[in-house]
Symmetry: C2
Subunit: 391 residues, 2 copies
């Protein structure tokens, strides 16, 4: 139980045949339509399901989300858009609601059409199987080559009762080539308007899913969605809303951590912290550049406290910071001060590279802005899963 | 003979002991000071030698360049700046010229001080050994863990005689950790003013060394320098200048190709072409994002004609292009049209991934701007050379 733990939700998954074997079609449905919000990939090349879901969510309401693995329905043109619309219609027919109430998501190979005959057979089966016990199957059905399902459940005590936030996600592996990546689905039985739900989701994603990187490659199909049934307790303005938002941040961070830990070939995870930047954008740019640097990521893989690479990556982040104000820590070891080497114990620094997560910290003296990112090491496993195809 | 093939130049190299063994200190000197120009790393964290060389070249003239391998003298603060100045002074004393006429460059470990006593002994020895036969030794002395020296010689016929452009470079391997990367040195016996020399160098570097990427990590020590003796023939405005500039572009491109082919762990090289962009900046951003994408680079490694990754990388380049106008070719195989899959022969596309270089081409319909980049594959070798340290 994860996405069906909030009251008012059911889920199901079937093996529709889009993938050669196993569950590949998941459905999450509220008993009735309610407020919903989503954030989508910023990639210019957005997949058909992303375009259709964005259009459907313009109303701020949704009834259900349908997700297939094995085919991303991306770079498929007008025909892919029509296929995504039909996928929504198939679910709407089963649930006796309007197509506009259905969110669609796809993940898998780019540039290949959805096998619609398999969806026409599979969606009605999934609708018939909807159950509160279907969450585990749904979480497995959306995986591509992730090594494990990713589910979360957070309870939040509000003034008028306890509400739940459930979630499931796939990805941060483009593990089999041509795979699109991150999909995250949250449900809640808390009652709040679509606008408040969207604010909470944007805030939570900004502090979780947008702060992980495996390879810096943003997919064409990414999406994070929250559906709310509102049947448990109403989120009142003030402390209730704060509690709900904090709960959603916790849920999204747990999901984000599961994704990065299941990152392609990952053997280590690191947290990159940047402090003292002139602006949030500066802090973000520096943290992201360090977190995505192949040299930092290979040093992480080798357990090498190679702070020179952290300095060099920060320096190419496109931010006009004062290098003479830059301090660097690896774990608790202060390795560079004022942009220059500092005397430190190499063995202790090397040991800090064995912590989980490895903590890389940069402090500037340009202002009060901070940022952070989670990243993985760059390993032989990453090369293997991405170089060798024929999925 | 490469950098000493242009008349008026001598070179030398010695084993000064900065590296555990082998040549590690190179000197290139003109018989007398002449026009000189350089371009430097854009990294915010610029090494001491970069700061000193930039200051010295403000006059537009130089007599000699001194280069050590084994220590980058980067992230060494005020003390590193003073060391770089002393390195210039040691050469100036040997050549009986002003320190401001000396360009200094260092490559190697970041965050470690130069062993000045070794330079105090080594520089005078290098000065004594200066000879027109010293080019090969100099080209070897500046290497860190490059697998081979990189030298070039181009002859250009001007109206009043033939001039020569010689060059040597190291890098596009941060092969041993904490290494800084690209250094390129050109000499010419063509006579032209410093301003014209700088224009020619900027143009040549923009069409060569700035278009190669191995890992997207810009070093703290990069520098490309050209020294001119002017003793062979004068570059007159007009067709002479065009011929000289074309010659320098050819020399710089050959050097750039040598660097990318010696890239860390590289088993394949690819040329990424972008056409039809709205602006040069847009074309550059898309070409660079594709060339640096870990997913494109691992597909290249696996010989996988995975155009979906090219589309996805272009889409995240931060450029507002029209996806419906995007066509993609792998070699001569047209794989995507209007942002969507096209029927093509998979075996022929896979064969195109075996060409040298692999040609990846993206055509947009937003304007007339074009760009290109050279890149390497991301291989196990890259992970090995960067993960395992203790140099």
């Amino acid at each position: 139980m994860s996405i069906t733990a909030p009251r008012g939700f059911r889920a199901a998954a079937v093996a529709s045949g889009i993938k050669p074997e196993g569950l590949d079609l998941a459905l999450v449905a509220a008993d009735r339509g309610g407020p919903a919000a989503a954030v989508f990939t910023t990639n210019r090349a957005q997949a058909g399901p992303v375009l259709v879901s964005r259009e459907h969510l313009a109303s701020g309401r949704a009834r259900a989300a349908v997700v297939n693995a094995g085919c991303a329905n991306a770079a498929t043109g007008e025909v892919g858009l029509a296929d995504a619309r039909e996928m929504a219609t198939l679910v709407a027919q089963g649930l006796s609601c309007r197509s506009e109430e259905i969110v669609v998501a796809s993940t898998g190979v780019i540039g290949v059409r959805l096998p619609m005959e398999k969806l026409r057979a599979g969606v009605p089966r999934a609708v018939r199987q909807l159950s509160v016990d279907g969450a585990g199957d749904a979480a497995r059905a959306i995986l591509t080559t992730d090594t494990r399902p990713k589910e979360v459940l957070v309870e939040v005590a509000l003034s008028s009762g306890t509400v739940r936030i459930g979630g499931m996600a796939k990805g941060a592996g483009m593990i089999a080539p041509r795979m699109a990546t991150m999909l995250a689905f949250f449900t809640t039985d808390a009652g709040l308007e679509a606008a408040a739900l969207e604010r909470a989701l944007r805030e939570a994603v900004g502090a979780s899913l947008n702060r992980i990187t495996v390879d810096g490659d943003t997919s064409t199909n990414d999406m994070a969605l929250i559906l709310s049934s509102g049947v448990a307790a109403r989120v009142l303005p003030g402390s209730d809303e704060t509690a709900f938002r904090e709960g959603l941040v916790i849920a999204a961070r747990r999901i984000a951590e599961m994704i990065v830990r299941d990152g392609e070939g990952a053997t280590r995870v690191a947290e990159v912290r940047v402090e003292g930047a002139a602006s949030d954008a500066d802090a973000d740019a520096i943290a992201r550049t360090i977190a995505e640097s192949p040299l930092v990521k290979t040093a992480l893989h080798g357990g090498d406290p190679n702070w020179g690479r952290i300095l060099a990556a920060a320096g190419r982040a496109g931010v006009a910071f004062d290098v003479k104000g830059m301090d660097i820590w690896i774990g608790d070891v202060w390795v560079a001060e004022g942009g220059a080497a500092r005397a430190y114990n190499e063995a202790v620094a090397a040991a800090a590279m064995g912590e989980d997560p490895v903590r890389l910290r940069v402090r500037l003296r340009d202002g009060g802005a901070t940022s952070w990112m989670w990243t993985t090491d760059l390993s032989h496993g990453y090369v293997d899963v991405n170089a060798h195809y024929r999925s």
